[in-house]
Symmetry: C2
Subunit: 168 residues, 2 copies
């Protein structure tokens, strides 16, 4: 089995690592992310919210009772930045901030009924697109999709992704 530069098998097996393939992957991320956020963005706009509000609502829904500090480490923004968003959500009655029972310095965040409804509306829209893409591409592709994305994350942030119930 010669392995020269002209060997078709060799070039084929490495084809997915050529600069052109990598560029395609980069642009795929760019354009897909646009689609990924497009539907929620439309809903948010009519309510006067932005993506920052969506992120907060999403992760409060995922981890009810989470603290401000925990949310900060997930979102990777400053507390001043998060606070601005959180304040409007609390004022608008979408999020409730409860003083911690063990540690009264902490604030535990929960979605109100209205907050839960908005979360549902946003995630329904986003899931619809994700479901369509998954169905279109098939189960095998979904495995690959997840594998590549997981490998693309910063290692020190990956635990936020896998921290929940493992195996799902």
């Amino acid at each position: 089995m010669a392995d020269g530069p002209g060997n078709p098998a060799t070039s084929e097996s490495l084809l997915f690592l050529t600069d052109e393939q990598l560029r395609k992957g980069i642009e795929a991320m760019f354009f897909a992310y646009r689609g990924f956020t497009a539907d929620p963005d439309r809903i948010l706009e009519e309510l006067g919210y932005g993506r920052a509000h969506h992120r907060a609502v999403h992760f409060i829904h995922r981890s009810p009772g989470t603290t401000v500090n925990n949310l900060l480490s997930i979102l990777g923004v400053t507390k001043q930045s998060l606070n601005r968003v959180l304040r409007t959500l609390i004022e608008d009655g979408l999020v409730e901030s409860r003083v911690g029972r063990q540690d009264r310095r902490e604030r535990h965040l929960h979605l109100t009924e209205a907050g839960t409804q908005l979360e549902r509306r946003l995630s329904d829209a986003q899931r619809d697109r994700m479901r369509h893409a998954f169905r279109q591409a098939g189960p095998e592709a979904v495995i690959g999709f997840r594998a590549v994305l997981e490998a693309m994350m910063d290692p020190e942030l990956r635990h936020h992704y896998t921290a929940l119930k493992e195996g799902n």
Copy 2:
């Protein structure tokens, strides 16, 4: 072949469409995109640029001589927004704007030598991460990754992704 709710084959084959699977997909996109932009962001920051500059440089490199209008349709922002970015890039000598020969209203955009160098530096960083993720996940996964992302794009924007030399 009964198809009851307890049938393992059925639930397994549809497992990738459960709400929990979709939520994982959504968060995978969120965290992966953060990693995807992290390396270029660091380079851009030390130069006083942002992601908007990166996007402009990337697509001018991909399509030398492209017009401002064409760039607008790819990037999906207003021309005023793009213009601000473009102006600084031109002032800094990274991009050259040439008046169109047929239509003198048009401006054809090219990277200068310095612009090409910056593009190289940015895309090297981003390709390194993409390459690592591709290698980690394997060729089969890359196929799936691309299939899912392509299905996630807005149909009317997808042509920007596949418009180049097909089959690469």
